[in-house]
Amino acid sequence: MDQANIRNFSIIAHIDHGKSTLADRILELTDTVTGREMREQLLDSMELERERGITIKAQAVRVAWKGHQLNLIDTPGHVDFTYEVSRSLQACEGALLVVDASQGSQAQTLANAYLAIEANLEIVPAVNKIDLPQSRPDEVATEIAELVGEAAERVQRISAKTGEGVADALDAIVERVPAPAGDPDAPPRALIFDSSYDQYRGVVAFVRVVDGTFTKGEALRAMAAGTQFEAEELGFLSPAMVSTPTLSAGEVGYLVTGLKDVSTLRVGDTLTSRRNPAGEPLPGYKDVKPMVFAGLFPTDGDQYPELRDALEKLKLNDAALFYEPETSQALGFGFRCGFLGLLHMEIVRERLEREFDLDLLVTAPTVAYRVQTRTGDEIEVHNPAEMPRELERVEEPYVRASIIVPKEYVGPVMELSNERRGRFDHMEYLSEDRVLLVYDLPLGEIVLDYYDQLKSRTKGYAGFDYDFAGFREGALVRVDVLIAGEPVDALSLISHRDSAYTRGRALVDRLREEIPRQMFDVAVQAAIGSRVIARETIKARRKDVLAKCYGGDITRKRKLLEKQKAGKKRMKQVGAVEVPQEAFLAVLNLEGKK
């Protein structure tokens, strides 16, 4: 199709502000899907996505509207997937910014709107849910108009639920969003903005063709990764796959590659023809690296092979997921996994538990540290147990955090952010009583408990989003926990020097509560290197006998002891100390959710 009649856009919205419902209405209104075929929120195909009201993987649907080809590119709705969002936006010329008419803009809306503005997209703002009695469309319209520098009357008023105003919004897209402007005659270039793994066809890439034309059967190359393959099939989603002979400049569609591993075809890479290659890749490719790490251990050690298989399968579809085997003296065999962020971690964990029926123990999340050792080597540390006790310097990842709160909570947010080593950047009033605060914060503090604290100190009102802001040096130390003199790897943590004592103390106190009394005194200590910073003693039991045992009791008492022995078998042995798995769980939980 002539590029002049193509419009590529995405919908930017906060969780629950109605993005998926709106997508459904658009599919209906454009007769892409008949009402009968309509499954609620069709674009969110994964069960988990529907339940959590978020979209994890982007997809693109082509619809026809008044002689135009509209490509609706879905974007993942969360901070952990900022890079994927930015690539999806890169595939568009415009964005429909949807804000709930009763809730107003949220931190996440803002972050994604800024990404869209940075990507030079034409923003078509809209307030949604105008059918709801508590909606304040005019007020919210003014708020977002100011945000994107538009006139309030140019803000669309829609109800994705009833369909009211949706046709006007589509007209506005056709009218305001520019047509693609690539060179149809240049050597072909396409941006990969998403990929997924199909068990029969291998990796399927979702692409935006920028220049030239791609043809079925053509030999292709991914320019950054160097991966080579043939375009086994081309087409677009409607929303089912519709095969076409070609995809040309300005169009959005899919490409079946036959590749077996998504990591060979990363989001952000540029595809070109091998016969007629482009000289330069499209700008902006980034190799996204996991920033948050945690150990995943099967609660039942026998499930280790199942966990390994499950991670392998997830990885097929999730190039950002990283894992390597980890052995913990306390928790047995498992994997150290890397995630884009906390939500990504939660999603992976839930999918493992739900889709693969695994029972998991997840250690307290930590971040990637860059360490310069005494010998001058640079290493990256993903696991507190690997942190050298002696080192030259450590750098930790920082984020730029945007926090939106009602103005009465500015004080508590500042207090919390200061406690968590945040550096205040600036603050602005979004409306009379909503304030945006921008802080630089160590990611390590966020994965520890910042977000939970933020929610609790603002009674749930705070909206929060962040973007990575590079590595900075920090006064970080490794805190070890010793039970009866033996360091317990799973409980080591990396902490800022100033909070090391508090965290060490909390761990030791909790362990004293959780570890049952043994047949001897047990010292529980937290230490930085050889310096003990907290200590407790679990006093030995002095009595543990079966009071009576005569002829009539023998079977019952034997079974009692055998049960007790079996119970000991399930305990983790740290030196001579028996520690119930629950004790580790409770302590790890404390670290993760303090």
């Binding site: 047949m519 001897f520 039991r541 002095r542 009595k543 543990d544 006998v545 079966l546 009071a547 009576k548 045992c549 005569y550 002829g551 009539g552 023998i554 079977t555 008492k557 034997r558 002891l561 055998e562 007790q564 022995k565 079996a566 000991k568 078998k569 001579a576």
Partner: protein, 401 residues
């Protein structure tokens, strides 16, 4: 329905048991210990989980006949003479005197014949009846000397009953009296326990058993005192130490986890340990007759159904009572041997229990000085004995069953 199913299971067990018994009959009568269960009580105490029947005076004579009937059926298992007979309950001395007399005279002879008694039942007549029946050891359920605590336990006897019972038995020339006590009673303080120990020592019994109150699930007692018992759990550690310390100081031998015997040098060289109970702890076979009684003979354990009427009925018909049986593998026998043997203050021969021992655990427990090996034997250290339950559980080789 449930009873019926249990009964059927019991009947099958009878066949199995009977077959094993017949086999045994042909070989020998090797069993040297006999237990006779007398279930009758004037009242069921709140903490009790034994097979008991309240009152039922009209049934006493019939029950005794039934017991003797069962004994007759199993006679072939028994050695002659027996080493020990133990008449327990219930309250054997609550049994109608004529029925009790009939029982005692019909029992086979044994070197040690013990009868359990409640203090309030001990009268000069009873003492004479016991002596005439060949009883040479009486085990008195004293439990405590504190009236308040006795009423918590729902015991009928008062402190004076205990003293009077001992005097009465002494007057009838009983020279082997054992007293049972309970500690950790709801409301009991450390000083109340000290007072009980002191009073007990004043009576100079040849033998004492001191039991921590076990609140067994399902008893009325647990229901009423659960919280207080949980509170006592901590104090119980100190109580146990106190009991062991005071009694050993007073010349008693702490020969089993909960049992103390006046040491032989204080009593003219007599070994005053309970020979009958030693039989259990040393892994000897024993025959138990009566309702709910348990026997272990030649690798088979069986338990008579705990229903009085059915028990008597079976005996009238000349049949064995309904039983549940449990064949014991060689491995299980060895595990029990370990579990029971470690309760004693004498070494257990390692070669007897080798395969039941977790050798890693043995090494660890030796390092912790909870277990020691002496020659070819293994025993718990004094601290190990205070932790005997946990130590034994650890020492037992892990098994899936």
């Amino acid at each position: 329905m449930r009873d019926e199913a249990e009964h059927r299971r019991g009947s099958e067990a009878v066949d199995f048991g009977a077959r094993r018994c017949r086999d045994a009959e042909g070989v020998s009568g090797g069993v040297r210990h006999l237990y006779v269960h007398m279930p009758f009580c004037v009242h069921r105490c709140g903490y009790c989980d034994f097979v008991t029947a309240v009152g039922r005076r009209g049934q006493h004579a019939a029950y005794v006949e039934a017991v003797l009937g069962e004994l007759e059926l199993e006679r072939g298992l028994l050695a002659e003479p027996l080493e020990t007979v133990f008449v327990g309950g219930g309250t054997p001395t609550f049994t109608e005197p004529a029925a009790l007399e009939r029982l005692l005279h019909a029992l086979p002879e044994a070197a040690e014949l013990t009868v359990e008694a409640n203090p309030e039942t001990v009268t000069p007549e009873l003492a004479r009846l016991l002596a005439a029946g060949g009883v040479n050891r009486v085990s008195l359920g004293a439990q405590s000397f504190q009236p308040g605590l006795l009423s918590v336990l729902e015991r009928r006897a008062g402190p004076d009953d205990v003293r009077r019972a001992v005097d009465t038995l002494r007057d009838a020339s009983f020279d082997n009296i054992s007293l049972d006590f309970i500690y950790g009673i709801p409301g009991q303080s450390a000083s109340a326990l000290q007072a009980d120990i002191k009073q007990a020592l004043l009576l100079e019994p040849e033998h004492m058993s001191w039991y921590e109150l076990e609140a067994k699930p399902g008893t009325r007692f647990t229901h009423s005192f659960g919280e207080e018992l949980a509170r006592q759990a901590e104090a119980m550690e100190g109580y146990f130490e106190l009991v062991v310390e005071r009694l050993t100081e007073a010349g008693y031998r702490w020969y089993e986890t909960a049992n103390f015997a006046l040491s032989s040098d204080r009593d003219g060289g007599r070994d005053l340990r309970s020979r009958h109970n030693l039989g259990y702890w040393l892994g000897h076979d024993y025959l138990g007759v009566g309702v709910g009684a348990v026997s272990t003979v030649n690798g088979l354990r069986w338990r008579n159904a705990p229903r009085l009427a059915a028990y008597i009925e079976a005996a009238v018909a000349g049949e064995r009572p309904a039983r549940e049986s449990e064949p014991l593998s060689d491995e299980t026998v060895m595990r029990e041997r370990l579990m029971l043997g470690l309760r004693l203050d004498e070494p257990l021969r390692l070669s007897d229990v080798n395969e039941a021992i977790d050798t890693d655990a043995l090494a660890r427990l030796r390092r912790l000085e909870l277990v020691e090996t002496a020659g070819s034997g293994v025993l718990l250290t004094p601290r190990g004995r205070r932790l005997g339950g946990g130590v034994t559980a650890e020492l037992l080789a892990y098994t899936d069953t």
